[in-house]
Symmetry: C2
Subunit: 271 residues, 2 copies
């Protein structure tokens, strides 16, 4: 919108990546944003690396055409599978897994174990395990398949979700010889369970820090585009695009973004 | 396999349709089966009617090529969206929604209300409401988005699932002036929750019959291919095909089918 103001593209398979956009909005007040949710083709978790790489290349072209000078891939699956396969790109591309692993290594001492909470697809990719290993961290990756539907039901603070969290945490702890030194929220939906998880971890008597990959990614984006962190009195401009289900995006999105979503434009990436 | 023995094709977006296959195996002992799970392209709930119709046409051709003389569409979304759009077909095609509505109308008196439990996509299609209206039944369609992931976690008999069921049943009952006269399990995964739901409905003090669309569909298939119901001493032959994730199919499928799945062949319907 302004020639001197940076524009950052954010790409996710759906609206979960809005938690990453929220972290970016907080840390980059002097930037505008283009958010693309590929809602027509989610979930990515069941698709092949080749297909997900093709989708990510389409998203990259799309946000470039809309003026972005950087792409943040907010989707864990795309970060895990497409980023290693992308060739040289015209603008920088940042995923969520490397920053998440880096933040875990800051919170947990070298040689200790980080507990990664993620979807089944992200766990099966072992992308966090590899990224954490690069920082000298052990990992235990725990799939929490009920967390996404619980968040989408809006049950982020209910007794049912507390019990599910207790079961998942207990299953993970039972598999580990010692408590983990950090817990990583390795899915875009999980920041909405942060308060609940913090309570349940405390209830277990374990003062384990909880690391949010979204927060860590926003910090890395700021390092890449430092003047986006300048103070600004002009409101940030956000253009929202989705490939399907714009109504659901507009209805559920505000829970993730913590602000209203006025308009979502439907786009066809194959066209 | 035998030239005189009927072969029936069963099609679903995943492995949930194995509950329909199970009902078919029980009622049609003198039939062989071809099961096709389109696991690469699930879920169908977020896709357009045109796309789902195209997928269903591909499935129809596939099971015909494998000798089926009838196709049972076990997927509620495909039954709702594709069946009305299919032109004349070379073999009969049977969905799950019409039989489910018919069974509800047998269990509930004319003019009464049936409670339909289903996924959000099936609820939004209002296919059960239309089909039940044809039988003089009112409906209240209740989306239960946590039931599928709870079943896939294997939590079909846990306190958490009981609480989720209680919340969904209570929300539905609170929206109705009088208790429903029947409850329809309008999703292929829900028969695995039948025992739990029966208990929770009884705990509410309401003797409401629970109707299973899978059972009703098997009855209709038997009416269409009567000699498939003949006694047979030869074991039924089942060929399993999936478009992706054969391992998950083989691992979770037996919970739905109540028998082992020895081999799943990967196929590409687009090829």
């Amino acid at each position: 919108v302004s020639p001197t103001r940076p524009c950052i593209g954010v790409f996710d398979s759906g609206f979960g990546g809005l938690t990453v956009l929220r972290a970016l909005l907080d840390r980059l007040p002097n930037a505008d944003f283009v958010y693309l949710g590929d809602t027509a083709r989610l979930p990515y978790g069941t698709k092949s690396p080749e297909t997900i790489t093709r989708y990510t290349e389409q998203a990259l072209r799309f946000v470039q055409q809309h003026g972005a000078e950087m792409l943040v891939v907010a989707c864990n699956t795309a970060s895990a599978l497409a980023l290693p396969a992308l060739g040289p790109t015209a603008i920088p591309v940042l995923g969520v897994i490397q920053p998440g692993a880096e933040a875990a290594s800051t919170a947990a001492p070298e040689g200790s174990t980080a507990l990664i909470l993620a979807t089944e697809a992200t766990v099966q990719s072992h992308a966090y395990a590899r990224a954490c290993a690069d920082h000298g961290l052990q990992t235990f990756e725990k799939a929490c398949p009920l967390f996404v539907p619980l968040v989408e039901e809006g049950w982020t603070d209910t007794a049912v979700t507390e019990q599910v969290a207790d079961i998942y945490l207990r299953e993970a702890l039972d598999s580990l010889a010692a408590p983990p030194a950090a817990i990583v929220l390795g899915c875009t939906h999980y920041p909405l369970l942060r308060a609940l998880l913090t309570r349940r971890v405390a209830a277990l008597g374990l003062p384990i820090p909880i690391v949010d990959a979204a927060e860590a990614t926003a910090q890395r984006a700021l390092a890449a585009v430092p003047h986006a962190g300048d103070r600004s009195h002009r409101p940030q401009h956000i253009a929202f695009f989705a490939t399907d289900s714009a109504a659901k995006f507009q209805r559920l999105g505000p829970r993730f973004l913590h602000r209203e979503i006025e308009a979502v434009t439907l786009v066809d990436l194959d066209a």
